[in-house]
Amino acid sequence: MFDKLEKTLAPVAEKLSTNKILIAIRDGFLISTPLIIVASIFLLIANFPVPGYSEFVAGFFGEGWESNLTVVSNATFNMIAILNVIGIGYSYARQLKAEPIAGAAVAFVSYLIITPQVHPEFVNEAGNAFRGFAFGNLNSQGLFLAMITAILSVKIFAYVKDKGWVIKLPEGVPPAVMSSFAALVPSMFAMVTFFLIRLGFSQTGFGHAQNFILEVLQTPLMGLGENKLFEIIYQFLSNLFWFFGINGPAVTNTIFSPIHHTMTFANQAAFLAGDPIMPYIFTGPFSDFFGNFGGGGSTLSLVLLMTTMAKSERMKQLGRLSIIPAIFGINEMIIFGLPIVLNPVILIPFLLVPVMNIALATLATLGGIIPYTTGIALPWTTPIFFSGWLSTGSFFAGFFQLGLLALGCLVYFPFFKILDKQYVEDELSPQTIVSDELDDISLDDISFDDL
């Protein structure tokens, strides 16, 4: 049965994790991730979730001190479509073996070409309309358009470059100048294309590509993200892949992460604006911090059982080695060393516990027991309790995580006991194999001494 399952899963995983466009989008987001995390820290400092904090700091820096920190948020959260169009342009160009920075630049410019540049609703005293780009077109509202723009513009760029339709300069010209001119014709094709796209949309009821993509693509996809089963499906699939030794999130993120990211940024925008209503539950932080404690399969629960209640030497030793990494969400040693991979006994809790965690956390969020995640992005290795507390602003959410952890231990317990018992038996049974055939080679105290 497992063979059949693996035969269907492995090719899917292979296709998804080698698809150039999906890789480019996934890797493109990685470029903006550290910036978003730092900006989140600024946001966190401005809004540290401890009562009385805001007034305390106001004592030093005066009232309204928080608003000074919003410049960092505006430079990052409110520019997220731009950050990602550059990141995705860069990584897609790299995939297609074109000059990555040229790809990033073309993607950036192409996006600006189709973005509104004049805003007649804002007029100054002289009657001139505001000229510039509005955050509303550069932030998470434009995220899907950014993805499409980056891919399309770089594809055109790389295609033209590969066809050889470039200006070749004579020998002796410095390489930097050569490659700059080489980018000219390909860039032209991309920019003309996007100019035509802009013209095209201006003739339609949508007015701009942003509106079109928002209505036709982004909103329906976000609808998927709002489906209550969205996160459960993600967790289930990611951990199912791990069971076969395949890096689950690497595969599932190719599809799920654009939606996760968009929901995260939308919540951040609401948080930034001081809006008490958060649009989405299943943000990236929610997924990272309320599904799996200690890594895929929520193995921190299992490791806790191993260190405290195991009877077999093997479990005890492995538990001791894995407990510190597990606090930071790393569980490679457990996945390959227990092993979890291809081990049917542990499959059920491995799949069930994260699904249960997410289901309970979702219900708790809907029921108002814990707040929505604010979209504040933290490194996925942030330890339990801190991650829940800081990503929602509520201590209770941290305690809720601890509760889920305990529940996970309960679910893992019977399966852990079966495995432990098996290992104890293995350890006690004598090595019967070979001693009969051969001149008594005892295996009981072999060592490398005297060799």
């Binding site: 395949i246 080695l321 090595q431 070979v434 295996l443 072999i446 060592s447 490398f448």
Partner: protein
């Protein structure tokens, strides 16, 4: 079939990347990541006599000593074959496995194979003609199950002295 395993500190469960200097040691039976593939070994009636392991830094600092001692122990225990792997894409472990397998094949009656991912491209290139290296995916890659199945096929074929053509599709 009498099998010996040759692991690094990670596969033996003696530590991670931060512990490259684990001293050469041996334990009875199979330990660490042996449990990931033990069912495939049972299918070919192979029993693991012992697992030898050392840190992947220790190996290169004491290469001659490790090679000599491992070969001596494999000979003393009358092992049929030594499996140096599975190394996934751990480059240092892959390199020490290739070196170890080559030494065993050249200086003793004990057969040896290595097993690691193609991401260790320079090690593959350097040793593919002198060492039987079984193909496997990198950590988190697809095809792990199949590669472990292939590994047991190769082990059996090598110990039975089958013609290389019957198993060379599983090697580099």
């Amino acid at each position: 079939m009498r099998v010996l395993l040759f692991f690094d500190q990670t596969q033996a469960g003696a530590g991670g990347k931060e512990k490259p200097n684990v001293e050469l040691a041996v334990e009875k039976g199979g330990i660490g990541s042996y449990h990931m593939f033990e069912k495939y070994l049972k299918e070919i009636d192979a029993s693991v006599l012992a697992t030898m392991y050392c840190g992947n830094g220790y190996f290169f600092d004491h290469e001659e000593e490790v090679k000599r001692k491992v070969t001596a122990l494999a000979t003393k225990l009358k092992a049929d074959i030594v499996l140096c792997g599975p190394c996934f894409d751990y480059h240092d472990y892959a390199e020490m496995s290739a070196i170890m397998a080559q030494h065993l094949e050249e200086t003793s009656d004990v057969k040896a194979v290595a097993m690691f991912a193609k991401e260790n491209s320079d090690v593959v290139e350097k040793y593919k003609d002198s060492v039987k290296i079984i193909k496997m995916p990198k950590k988190g890659g697809t095809g792990l199950n199949k590669s472990l199945e292939n590994m047991s096929k190769v082990l059996k074929a090598v110990v039975d002295n089958d013609d290389k053509s019957t198993y060379e599709e599983y090697l580099y």
